[in-house]
Amino acid sequence: MTTVQVTEVAKSFGRTQALAGATFAAGPGVTGLLGPNGAGKTTLLRILATVTAPGSGRVRLLGRDPRDAQDRLEIRRRLGYLPQEPGFHRGFTVTEFVDYVAILKEMAGRAERRAEVRRVVELAGLTDVADRRIRALSGGMRRRVGVAQALLGDPDLVVLDEPTAGLDPEQRLRFRDLLSRIGEDRTVVLSTHQTEDVAAMCPHVVVLDGGRAVFDGTPSALTASADGRVWLSDARSPEARLAWRTPDGDVRNIGDQVPAGARALRPTLEDAYLLLVGDRARNSTGQVAA
C-alpha cells in the first residue's frame, strides 16, 4: 500500500533549486532519506509535512492531495512532524509544550489530552523531566521533546527530519527501538546523515542528490551496488574515489578499479552511499579522505 507518493517534485527558493524532479513512493514501515547537505532532504520533508507547497510536480499523502484545503486538513490530522530545527517555547515545561502542540492538533477533552501527553512523554523517555523547563534541558533531551510531540495522536504518517541528531548512543538505540515499533503499521519517513541508522531500522532507503532521488530500494540492494568496489591496501590507491585509514593502519579504498594485491572487502551501506554521491557525502558524514 502506498501512503506517500512523490512524483517529479521540484522546488526553488529564488535562484536556488532545492528539488529538481524528485520521485519516490513509500508505504507503511520506516523509509530513510539519505543525502549530502543541500541534496533537498529538508525541503522534501517539509513538503511531506505540508509546511511548504511544491513548486511543481505531484504529491499524494495518505491518499489525499495536500494542495486541496480539506485534504490538507485531513492529512495534518493524521500527521506527526519533527522539523530539522524544532524551536521550543523555552519558558514551557516539557508537559506544557507537548500539551501546547496537542491543542494545535485539535485534541479535544482536556483530561484525555493530558493522558495522551503523558503517554508520548513516557514513550520518548522524558517522564523524569516532564515538569522541567525546556530551557534547562540538554540538546538531546530537547530532541526527544520534539519526537514526543511528533507522536501525539498516534499519527498514520510520521515525518522526522534528522531525529537522531544530538542523541547519545544509548538514546539512539532506544529511539531505533521506538521507531521500528511505530513503523510496524505506520508510515515513517526520516532523514539522517547516519547510514548506521538506516541500516539498523529502515527497510526502505531513498538517496537524494542534487534534488533528485538517485536510489530507491532496500538497504541491502544499495549495499550490493558496492560489491567488488571496496578493498584494503597498505597505501591510498590512486584509483580510489575515496579512501581513509582505518584504526588498524590499513587504508580502506572505495572505487571502481581494484588494484592488484589489494584485499577485497564486503561493502557496508556507507561505502555504497559514498560511491553513489561521491565527494559531496564526505561533508555530511564527516568522513575524511586519507
Binding site: G14, A53, V101, K105, A111
Partner: protein, 276 residues
Amino acid sequence: MSETTWHVDGEVLARYAAGQVTSAVAASTEAHLTSCGTCRALLAPAIPTERLDGIWLEVDDRVDRLSLPWFERVMVRCGVGEDTARLLAATPSLSASWLGSVAAAAFLAASAADTSPRALFAFLTVAPMLPVAGVAAAYGRDADPAHEIAVAAPYSMLRLLLLRTLTVVAVTLVLTVLAGLLLVDEGWAAAAWLLPAAALTTATLLLSSRLTPVWAAAWVMGTWVGGVAAAWQATGTRLAAFGALGQSFALAVTLGCVALLVTQRHVFAFDTRRSA
C-alpha cells in the same frame, strides 16, 4: 487499622459500584471500606474499569489545573478558555518584558506630547506602530520558535494569528490609551491614533500572508512614517494625517485589508519561509 466484624451487604456493594446509592449510604459504605479489606476485595472486580479510568483522569486534571503558570491563570480568570490561554502563553509579545517596553514607550511618548506640538506629532506617529510591533513579535518564524510545528498541525494558522493579534492589540491599546488619557491634554489627540493603528495592524496581517510578520511590519511602519511625512509636506499642516481625511483613509484601509484577509485566508496554511 483493625478489620471490622461486619460486612456490607452484597447488593448494596453492587449498587455502590454502579453509583446508584444515596450520598448517605455512599458515605457510610466508604467509611466502612477504609477499614475493611474483605469488602474492598469484593468491591474491586465490580467497579467498571472505564469509570475508574475516567475518575483518575478527572483527578489528574484537577491536580494539573492547580499548577497552571501565572499567565494562564490570569487569562483563565479573565474568562479565556484554558486551551486558548495556553496558545496565548506562547506569544512572545505577551511576555512581561515586552509589555513593559510597550508601556514605557507609550508613556514616554505621551508625556513628551504634553510639552509641544512637535512632541504631540511624535506621539501620534509612534502610538499606532506599537500594536504593529506587537503583532510582528506574536507570530511567524521569526517570533514563534515552534512555528513550523504549528504550521503542520490542523489548527488554523489564520485563527492563531488573529487570536494572538487581538490579544496583543487589546493589551497594547489599553496601555497606550491610558498613557494618552493621562498625559495628553488635547482630548481628541488621545484617540486620533486609533484608526491609523487599526489600519496599520490589518495591513500587517494582510502582508503576513506573503512576508514574514517582521518584514510585513517593517514595510507597514516605513510606509506609515513616509505617509505621515508626505501629508505634512503636501498640506503644510503637521497633523494632516490625523485629520478627517486621514481618519477616513485609515478606515478605508482597515476595511479593505479585512476584506482581503478573508479572501486570502488559505495562504496562511503554509510557511512563508523563502529559503531551503
